[in-house]
Every structure is written in C-alpha cells, then in structure tokens.
C-alpha cells in the first residue's frame, strides 16, 4: 500500500540469513521461506513466472498440482529495498511443521526482477507482522493459525543460533517459548504501533556512555527479516567512530563543523534548546518539533536552483547531527577544542545509507560494547556480536553490523533490530498481550 511504502522499502531481503521450510497445497509443494516479522504477506514464486531469471533458480508453486487450490486472482505487488515482486493472490493449504493452515491467501509471484532474488537462497517469504501492513489486506498465516485453533497460545518466539561453527540455524516456536533457548526472564515492552512489532526504546550507549539521541525514546522494530541493525545516521556515525569503521567523508558535514561549529557550541553553552540551534544559524527552519531544511523553501522559490536546495538540505541534516554530537561531548565535560575535533572526525565516519562499513578484523576484540535500553534494561552487544565476518583466512573481511537508516518524523527516527540483535537476545512476539520480550539467548 502506498501509504505504507515509506516503511516497506526498509526491507532488505538479500541480507536475510535465516530461513525454514513450508509446504503449500495438497500434496504439499516445498518452499524455503524467510520467517519475517517485518512484513505480513506470504509469497512464493509461481509456475506462471516466465520472465524473471530468479524464478528459474527457485521452487515454483503449481496450482494445477494441488487438490486444495482455490482461485483468487487479485493482483498484488510488493516493493522492497532490494527489489520488488508482483503477481496475484491464490488460496491454498499451507503446511508449517506438522500443522496445516487451511485456505490461506498468499501471493504467487510472477515477476521477481531483482538481481537479489536470483542469488537468494530462499524461495519466498512468510510474514509474521500484523494484518495492518499486509498488502491487499490479506490475512497473515499467523492469524489463521490462531483462528483455526492450531496453536495453544497466541505467542511465537525466535531463537537464532549465532554460533558460526554450528550447522543449526535456529528455531521459531509457534504457541510459546522454548525454555532451552533463553536464560533468565524476558523484559517485555508494549507494541506502540500495530503493523510492525514496534515498541519504544531508550538511549543507545557506546562503551557504556550514553549517546543521548534516544534519551527521550526512539521507536524500534524487531525484524527477523533484516540481518543488520539499522538506525539513524547521527548515532551510526558515532558508533562508526568508536569502532573505527570506514565511512564516507561528507563535505557538508565538514563545512558545517568548520564554519558553524563554534557557533553551535556557543549556543549549546548558552543553553539554547538544541532543536532550535540549526534554525538560529539559518541552516534549518524550526517547525516546533525539529529542524526542517531551509532548502525546502527553494522548491517554491523559482529564483533558487534545485541543486542549491539539495545542498542546503544536507547542511541542515549535518547541522542537526553536529548538535547531537557536540551535546553528547559537552555532557562528558570535554573541552571545546576536543568537541570540535570530535565533530570533525565524525564527518569522516558518516555511513552510506543502508550501506555496509568495514572494520579491521585485528581490532575486533578491543572494540567497545554497543548497548540498547529496552524496558529499563540495558542490552549489550559485544563486538563479536555486532561484527560480521565474511570469508575465511587472510581474505576475511569484517563488516559492521550497524547500518544507517533515516526515517523522518513523525514515523521516525526508527531503529530496526534485525538478526544482529535477535541473535544474542531470544525474542518473544506476544500477539495476545501485544508486547515484545527479550531475554539472553541460550
């Protein structure tokens, strides 16, 4: 649905690393799917998919081979960050483990134009989000499981095995939790916006020190269909700096720090409300809640070129980030000189949006923990947990598990807690009580 498109495009299925098997139809046709809490539809490639290379590399559903198939035909398409799929709805029985969900609506994908799907090791996707974000308002598989009395409790939970030496990928448990796969008690937080498994999260800490950005709370989504942990550029840049991750030098960031750094600092010391600082130095206009790029005005001002507006947008964003960085350093009682140097250094660490950053594999053991405050508990991620190793031996590369993603207010800023977080922390999705719980994974 276009109204949710801004969120749907966050998905990056290529990076999804955990998948399981389901059967569709009678007799069941086997498909490997991602169990994805960040979306709500079930789709698999269709035997009627002729013009997408990806379909030739994956299992395809053939309705004529199923005695329980029911025609539907309603068209459907889903746009993802790493591609799109389109096709039509069909109805059939879906086998998950040893239970059979009857008359489930799902999408037969007839087009998978993305290169990402060609190399993907999964055929399709089984969404475990809420019906509110389901394309075509299709009833999700999970809802049908509850409706048809196939699970004892309206709860499912994830355990992802992060031990790279072990073959077993993990386990999803429908109907409850597996006590073998967590330690201690879960910390629960209420779902704040039905659709995604979205909840409110507190501050993010680097090496035990607060970044301050989410001190007043940020939204977060528990998303099993995303590998990495995505968050606002402002904080990801601070993390990149702390872990020595490569970044992209931002000219606008440098310009703001060099030309306006001292002014920003003076205004912070004068205790001007931080959100108003960038408008005071005329890099943004203030809308009452946050800075809005002054560059937006250039769209209606025909005397100003569009490119000028884009640069000013970037300057506004850079200024807002610099304010957070400097405020954070001021709270740590740093000298003015150190604060300006720190902000300047951060400009070299700005991440590519939804891109990956590499770190030196030799330094991993020396890196700080990055922690997330959820429901009053601080959840630590050690460097071994947030750094992903690609390849073996001397050619191995270490990539940061953090990636930048900026969703503007009122929906954002949003953190996407993907597998990097759901690995160390066993996650419970409690549909009955509309809450999400996290405990140490075992």
């Amino acid at each position: 649905d276009s109204k949710d498109a801004d969120i749907v495009i966050l998905k990056n299925y290529l990076d999804a690393q955990y998948y399981g098997e389901i059967g569709i139809g009678t007799p069941p046709q086997k498909f490997t799917v991602i169990f994805d809490t960040g979306s709500s539809n079930l789709w698999v490639p269709s035997s009627k998919c002729y013009f997408s290379i990806a379909c030739y590399f994956h299992a395809k559903y053939k309705s004529s081979d199923s005695s329980t198939y029911k025609e539907n035909g309603k068209p459907a398409s889903i746009q993802y960050g790493s591609g799109a799929i389109s096709g039509f709805f069909s109805n059939d029985n879906v086998q998950v483990g040893n239970i059979v969900v009857k008359n489930q609506e799902f999408i037969e994908a007839t087009r998978e134009p993305s290169v990402s799907f060609v190399v993907a090791q999964f055929d399709g996707l089984l969404g475990l989000g809420f019906q509110e974000i389901s394309v075509g308002n299709a009833v999700p598989v999970w809802y049908k499981m509850i409706e048809q009395g196939l699970v004892s409790e309206p709860v499912f939970s994830f355990w992802l095995n992060r031990n790279s030496d072990e073959e077993e990928g993990g386990e999803i448990v429908f109907g409850g939790v597996d006590p073998n796969h967590f330690k201690g008690k879960h910390t629960y937080v209420p779902v704040t916006r039905k659709g995604y498994w979205q909840f409110d999260m507190g501050d993010v800490l680097i090496g035990g020190k607060p970044t301050g950005y989410c001190a007043g709370s940020c939204a977060a989504i528990a998303d099993s269909g995303t590998s990495l942990l995505a968050g606002p550029t402002t904080v990801i840049t601070m993390i990149n700096h702390a872990i020595g991750a490569t970044g992209v030098v931002s000219r606008e960031c440098r310009t703001v720090v060099q030309q306006y750094g001292q002014s920003i600092l003076d205004l912070l010391l004068a205790e001007v409300q931080p959100k108003k600082i960038c408008s005071q130095i005329r890099l943004c206009t203030f809308d009452g809640t946050r800075g809005v790029s002054a560059g937006i005005e250039s769209v209606v001002d025909e005397n100003k070129g569009k490119s000028n507006g884009v640069i000013r947008d970037a300057m506004c964003s850079a200024c807002e980030m610099a304010v957070v960085w400097m405020q954070n350093q001021l709270m740590q009682n740093q000298t003015q000189n150190n604060i300006l140097n720190y902000a300047n250094e951060l400009c070299d660490r700005m991440p590519n949006p939804m891109g990956e950053s590499t770190v030196d594999c030799g330094t991993v053991s020396t890196l700080p923990n990055v922690s997330f405050t959820i429901g009053g508990r601080v959840f630590d991620l050690s460097p071994e947990e947030y750094i992903l190793k690609v390849g073996e031996g001397p050619s191995a590369e270490c990539i940061s598990g953090f990636t930048a993603l900026d969703i503007p207010p009122p929906r954002g800023p949003i953190w996407i807690l993907g597998d990097v977080f759901m690995g160390p922390y066993h996650t419970v999705f409690d549909y009955g009580n509309l809450r999400v719980g996290f405990a140490d994974a075992a």
Binding site: L14, D15, G20, V96, N98, E168, G170, G175
Partner: protein, 43 residues
C-alpha cells in the same frame, strides 16, 4: 512439534558470502544498467 504443545520449526542459516554482497552492490548501484544488459542479451 512436540508433546509440550509447541510447534517448533527449525531454521537454516546462510553465512554472509561474497556473491550475495556483490549482488547487493549491483542492485543498489548498477541495478538498472544490469537489468538493461539482461534485456539486451535476451537473458
């Protein structure tokens, strides 16, 4: 499934590999030219 009333589905995992990362880069940076070349060569 087991006798405790829970439905357990084992998950497989895939290690991050250079091929999928390459595809991600093609997708993000050169997605359209790549698709155009596929069309051009009737792939």
């Amino acid at each position: 499934a087991s006798n405790d009333g829970l439905l357990r589905i084992g998950l497989k995992k895939k290690k991050l590999d250079p091929n999928s990362r390459l595809a991600a880069r093609l997708e993000s940076k050169n997605g359209e030219p790549f698709r155009s070349s596929i069309r051009k060569y009737n792939l």
